[in-house]
């Protein structure tokens, strides 16, 4: 085993240990998916990763992204209409595009939006499946064109499967009724987080990416859910504490 392989092995072990550690009672599903997207970038040498989940009307919605900037998230979201992610979701099977230049006919809007914003050249979408049934998809973007190796695709799918388990086991599971509730809760949490990012970006004069970083650090340091911190940022005045990284958790009057 060469050095690169062994450091990758170490990272892989660390990823699964950390992900297993995350699956405690009442854990934060958005935080888990955010960590997963991060590990995809590191382990699969991707340049960006995003996770989309389907709502009950089968529309795909972004729940985690390694890039929290508005434009990039909008591009991910564009795939509720067209793109590798929605094709992967509909077929419940992986979609690999080794060179996006060749996919412009298939997804004209998606290809144009991608070409406008970032120079990603290849994209791979792996399904999040429960008993063969799709619930969302993991998206991997590379700046270099070319296919991913079968071993990397298998590892990517294993990470996608961990995401599925995470979503399902947020609370006691195994009935269809709970799955739908979990998905809806995760999607609503994401809306709260986006609004909270807006508050932080405005108050701190920082980018959406930096706003998410502050929100995430504060949540992890204080062992709180991202959506709970987000809620307090929107409804009361936790923004200052989050921006300063202070561990203030006094309750403050809510805005009416």
């Amino acid at each position: 085993m060469n050095e690169a392989d062994s450091s990758r092995q170490a990272l892989l072990s660390r990823a699964f240990v950390e992900l297993a550690d995350t699956l405690v009672d009442d854990f934060d599903v958005i935080d888990l998916l955010d960590r997963l997207a991060g590990y995809c970038v590191e382990l699969l040498e991707a340049d960006a990763a995003g996770i989309l989940l389907a709502d009950t009307q089968r529309n795909l919605r972004v729940v985690a992204s390694t890039n929290e900037q508005t434009e990039w998230m909008e591009l991910l979201q564009l795939q509720s209409d067209e793109g590798p992610c929605v094709d992967c979701f509909r077929a419940a099977a992986a979609v690999s595009i080794a060179d996006l230049d060749e996919a412009a006919d298939r997804w004209p809007r998606f290809a144009a939006a991608l070409a406008d914003r970032e120079s990603y050249r290849s994209v791979h979408a792996l399904p999040l499946r429960l008993r063969g049934e799709p619930i969302g998809a993991l998206n991997l973007f590379h700046r270099r064109p070319g296919p991913m190796s079968p071993a990397d695709l298998a590892l990517g799918q294993a990470l996608a499967d961990v995401a599925t388990i995470g979503i399902l086991s947020e609370r006691a599971i195994n009935r269809g009724e709970v799955l739908n509730e979990q998905l809806q809760t995760a999607l609503n949490s994401r809306v709260i987080i986006e609004q909270a990012k807006g508050v932080l970006a405005e108050r701190g004069g920082i980018t959406m990416d930096a706003a998410f970083d502050r929100l995430r650090s504060y949540s992890r340091n204080n062992n709180l859910k991202l959506s709970d911190v987000g809620r307090q940022i929107i409804q009361s005045d936790l923004a200052a504490a989050v921006l300063a990284g202070r561990a203030v958790r006094t309750s403050v009057p809510r805005r009416s």
């Binding site: 709502d55 063969g132 294993a158 269809g176 739908n180």
Partner: protein, 249 residues
């Protein structure tokens, strides 16, 4: 670690096409401007599309002010009244937690432990076996709670429950639309749910004017309406800091 999600003896649960309730809400049009009339239409769609006997929508605000917007029948009315009086129950829990609260058998020991007085009253006074309470929410905004009931105990079929959860999301958008309506032709729009730029801009306006998320969203809509612009474009300008809201905007 390779996790075999395909394995297992359970048959796949099909991710169905929109169910009957979702379908009828989407077909309802975008121009109902009276909140009680809207609540009635929403309740009717749920009653027609699900195996239930009645429905009600109540408002639960932060100031603990509670009000029933619509109740389909005397029993639904009684169920709301019981919870407001007793201070406990399925729809109170749904309002507080933001999660659906499903009580398929009100005479079950689990429910009587959860709500000692309410559970007993639901069975004895109202003769109701099952209660399903769905929160109507958009991000942190609680727009009300939908309380569904059936005389006979028993769970809703999975497909109906999925339909109900999805339809509750649309009902919430309808109520949000009405609450923030600047007088537009379309009071609500289903695309609001997945527009990242709109959520972020709402947060920025919350901070710019120190107002609630509902008010911030209303300001964005009002601006778009007055300027004859698309809400998404206005939101993108706010996020890009090309547009700032002040008291005078």
């Amino acid at each position: 670690m390779r996790v075999a999600t395909r394995a297992g003896s359970c048959p796949p649960t099909p991710v169905a096409e929109p169910g009957a309730v979702t379908h009828s809400l989407l077909a309802m049009g975008h121009d109902v401007r009276d909140v009680r009339a809207l609540a009635e239409k929403i309740c009717r769609a749920f009653i027609d599309g699900l195996d239930i006997d009645g429905a009600a929508i109540s408002l639960h605000t932060a100031s603990e002010l509670r009000e029933t917007l619509y109740a389909s029948d005397a029993i639904s009315d009684l169920l709301e009244e019981l919870q407001f009086t007793l201070g406990e129950g399925a729809c109170m829990d749904a309002a507080r937690t933001g999660h659906p609260v499903l009580a398929p058998d009100m005479s079950d020991i689990e429910e009587s432990t959860r709500w000692p007085v309410y559970a007993q009253a639901v069975v004895d006074q109202a003769g109701v076996g099952a209660v399903f309470a769905l929160p109507l929410q958009w991000a942190t905004i609680n727009l009300g709670v939908l309380d569904l009931h059936r005389k006979a105990a028993g769970s809703l079929p999975v497909a109906q429950l999925r339909d109900a959860i999805g339809a509750a999301d649309i009902a919430a958008l309808m109520l949000l639309g009405l609450r923030t309506d600047p007088g537009e032709e379309r009071v609500w729009d289903r695309s609001w749910g997945n527009r990242i730029e709109i959520h972020q801009a709402t947060g920025m306006v919350v901070a710019q004017l120190d107002i609630s998320a509902t008010d911030a969203f209303a300001r964005l809509r009002a601006y778009a309406y007055v300027e004859h612009r698309l809400l998404g474009d206005v939101a993108r300008d706010v996020v890009a800091r090309r547009l700032r809201f002040t008291e005078e905007t």
